[in-house]
């Protein structure tokens, strides 16, 4: 059994075999593997007795359920209007230069993926970014770089 298969089985054990458990299972996989591989999607379809297209359809609806490989740490900078006006472009530029990747790309060492995101609900403290599950408000380019460096050391 591959690690993905084992992971899916374990998540299905925990969350149940009904359609309702589709979301928690998909989220569980993303937490471990950072994205949903073809193998993972098929395993889920098999375990929950759903069609693979169905599982993919659900996954593709959610921005946070990626179906392309992602780095260990996913940086999402809010791109919506408030954060835009408060300077998200500079933040992105700084990170992009430091990590030598464009938005949508992953570093060679697989440590970081840089993405943009829709409003994260922190408009009053924009610009904000999310690294994995953690929110970082009131960014400046300088501050953003320091935070990313912290993660690089982890």
């Amino acid at each position: 059994m591959s690690t993905t298969e084992a992971l899916v089985k374990e998540l299905v054990e925990k969350n149940g075999r009904t359609r309702n458990s589709l979301m928690p299972v998909l989220q569980g996989i993303v937490q471990q593997e950072h994205f949903l591989s073809e193998e993972a999607l098929i395993c889920v379809a098999k375990e929950l007795d759903l069609s693979a297209a169905d599982v993919y359809g659900t996954a593709s609806f959610y921005t946070f359920l990626d179906t392309v490989p992602r780095g260990k740490n996913i940086i999402r900078v809010c791109k919506t209007i408030t954060c835009h006006m408060k300077g998200k472009d500079e933040v992105i530029k700084a990170i992009s230069n430091a990590l030598k990747i464009k938005v949508g790309e992953t570093t060679h060492d697989n440590k970081f993926t840089l993405l943009s995101a829709n409003c994260l609900g922190w408009c009053h403290k924009g610009p904000v970014m999310l690294i994995n599950d953690e929110v970082f408000p009131e960014l400046t380019p300088q501050k953003a770089l320091e935070i990313v460096e912290e993660y690089a050391k982890k």
Binding site: K46, L50, S51, A52, A53
Partner: protein, 597 residues
Amino acid sequence: MSKYLVNLKINNMPVAVEEGTTILEAAKRLNFRIPTLCNHPDLTVAGNCRVCVVEVKGARLLAASCATPVSEGMEVFTNSEKVRKARKHIVELLLSEHNADCTKCFKNGHCELQELASEYRIGDHVFLDLVTPESMIQDISSPSIVKDDSKCIRCQRCVRTCAELQGVSALAVVNKGDHQKISTFLNKPLHEVVCTNCGQCINRCPTGALTERNYIEEVWNAIYDPSKFVVVQTAPATRIALGEDLGIPVGERVTGKMVSALKKLGFNKVLDTDFTADLTIMEEGTELLTRLKKALVDKDEKTVLPMMTSCSPGWIKFQEHMYSDMLDNLSTCKSPQQMFGAVAKTYYADKINIKAQDMIVVSIMPCVAKKFECERPEMRDSGYQDVDYVLTTRELAMMIKQAGIDFHKLDEDHYDSILGESSGAAVIFGATGGVMEAALRTAYEIVTGREVPFTNLNIQPVRGMEGIKDATIKIKNVKPEWSFLEGVDLHVAIAHGLANARQLMEKVRRGEAVYHFIEVMGCPGGCLGGGGQPIPTSPEIRKKRAEAIYSEDEDMPIRKSHENPEVLEIYKEFLGEPLSHKSHDLLHTHYKPRKRY
């Protein structure tokens, strides 16, 4: 339990309908037509297109009539100013995202969206044109189906069809917002996923987003090519539905006219798949009896029961994907279409002195999966591709129109001989339960020497539109050579539509039901509801087509496959006997497991 009646008014006319009725249905009772796109009589309610909106007095918002049940005292207006304006805007919005190049579209003239646009005289672009280059994606990977995302209005009829009727869910809604589209697992080409090519989604797509791969030009070219001898075969269910696309009412049989038209189109010989349907019964009936003997008497472990029919290529592909552990249950008989091709390019070609390589075999089928089937590598037993082109009933109607033939005025003509004679048992292959009935008429008589014990040979228990039917036939007073079947209760089951087939397979797998013989047809209603039949389709339409099929059967002078003189002759002259070596070479095949996901 009688249901509670609800009183309401539609356009000021009072009506009383059962509780739970939608406004749309109630309006239909009063003969008010409300346009619909996402709604379909075979499918659950989706309520996503909004063209069916109506005004309900006192309500702030317009209501989607297909998704709103009536309530007591309701006052509905189906054509108020507000409704008309909204409806027109909705159509305009749909068109703003639509690649409306109608003149180049296969659905031109048969499109529900086009019809609405024409009714509402949609003129200038009121909204921004949002057709993007990314939406201009056509998937032509399948030999049966063309999927054109630029024509899709995301009504999701196809998604519901594939899930609810076919239990396949090869199609799903993916992404969201302006990126939303109908797609496959990881957006793979259709031929790489679990799609069975049944074409049921085509039958329900209101636009040109899902259509059959059409081979009309190829067939015209073959007809015009003087070096080719072009024979055409027509499947049972085509003769009771072709008229629908040519202005003839549903349920009217057009067998003789269809033969006439085919001759006028220039086919060298007009022959009948019904002939090979009879041949199928000889082979499959014998195969069943042989399997019963091997399993019940010889206790042969390799012989598995129930035996399952194999005429429906959508069902076959379904089985290869979903139940690949049960492929040994499938009869090894090819479908009648493929038996025809194999026999045409060998036995028949020899008889009429035509070289197989100069012969083109065209099929007229109620099916789009047959387009895939004829290209299967297993289907070349004549040394050539046995069947060259498959046209749907719809494509034939188009050819007849192109040729300027006035179908109404055509005289009735007869199939050419040989390979043109058939029995009533063959015609009923077109309806769910028909193959079972045909097989029983023959097998019972082989075993007992008597006709099946049903009035007028009509085996009613296997007929009808129930999703899964089962029946038991008691076999009594058998001939000495079949003594092992004396007193045996033959258990049979029939499913149509792949969602029903799946249910039946699960039952068989769990051992909940023990059957000897199972008939499955991939499409709802059997071939008469096939993916290549005239559009629209509905339970009522399929019921009428079924009635036409059974009356065609009753009117046939021969009702049993084993009495077809041309079938007897091909055994005498060429095949020897059912399941002979030659039969195995030409008329039987094998199946291969395919990816489950």
